[in-house]
Symmetry: C2
């Protein structure tokens, strides 16, 4: 029984809260997702980050198909209880479904978004036709 | 003229995009805010992080009253162009209006949110009656 989780403010974003995923060892920000109350509860209880997919409109256990799960090491919230910072150990070579270590693989450079790192795995091999 | 900024997807969140603010030197995640197109443009052009305040429903130059501005060092976006990771040098002792270095000063500990760091400045002295 988690007594205090209900302090989180899911009301500002139609039942969702922003979840920033950070590598617990390197500090690298890997992705940003959204959780509803159920996704947060599952994340807490299972120890694997679970999101609510806005595009698929359902719960999404990250890594369910790829095996690239996110093992929760620490969960923090902010002053307004409306965002989460979740430090994880990311299983597999990278979290991004496009084949990068981090989803933040594009940097703004003189007004243009440019890839700032190389693809490290073949998304077709990992995800098949699912993108 | 910034040619490519319009690739950002402001459509999923009613004109807003999530912006994760990370200390460029330590890697610490300091806060999460939201930007509309105008806030993003100002952030790019001025080099200081500017948000759209959902509670005040207006643009918000972080540090305008406190002096605790966020000097932009790098801007990245994610695979879906619907989140920003902005690495900054944070002026002043901390970014949080409650007096902490980071807004993420509470960690989940056995089901309860507990302060995981000490307050480092007096918010009343910095922000006056504004909280």
């Amino acid at each position: 029984m988690k007594l205090d989780s209900n302090k989180l403010d899911f009301g500002k974003l139609n039942g969702l809260i922003t979840a920033v995923i950070q590598d617990h060892a390197s500090g690298r920000v890997l992705m940003v997702g959204f959780m509803n109350e159920e996704a947060f509860r599952l994340t807490e209880e299972t120890g694997y980050a679970t999101f609510f997919s806005r595009s698929r409109n359902k719960l999404w256990l990250k890594g369910e198909s790829s095996g690239h799960k996110l093992v929760v090491k620490n969960i923090a919230t902010d002053c307004d209880f409306d965002a989460l910072l979740i430090q994880v150990e990311a299983l597999g070579p990278g979290v991004c479904h496009e084949g990068y270590q981090s989803c933040f693989f594009r940097q703004l450079d003189a007004g243009e978004w440019k890839e700032s790192e190389s693809r490290i795995f073949d998304p077709a091999a990992v995800y098949g036709n699912r993108t």
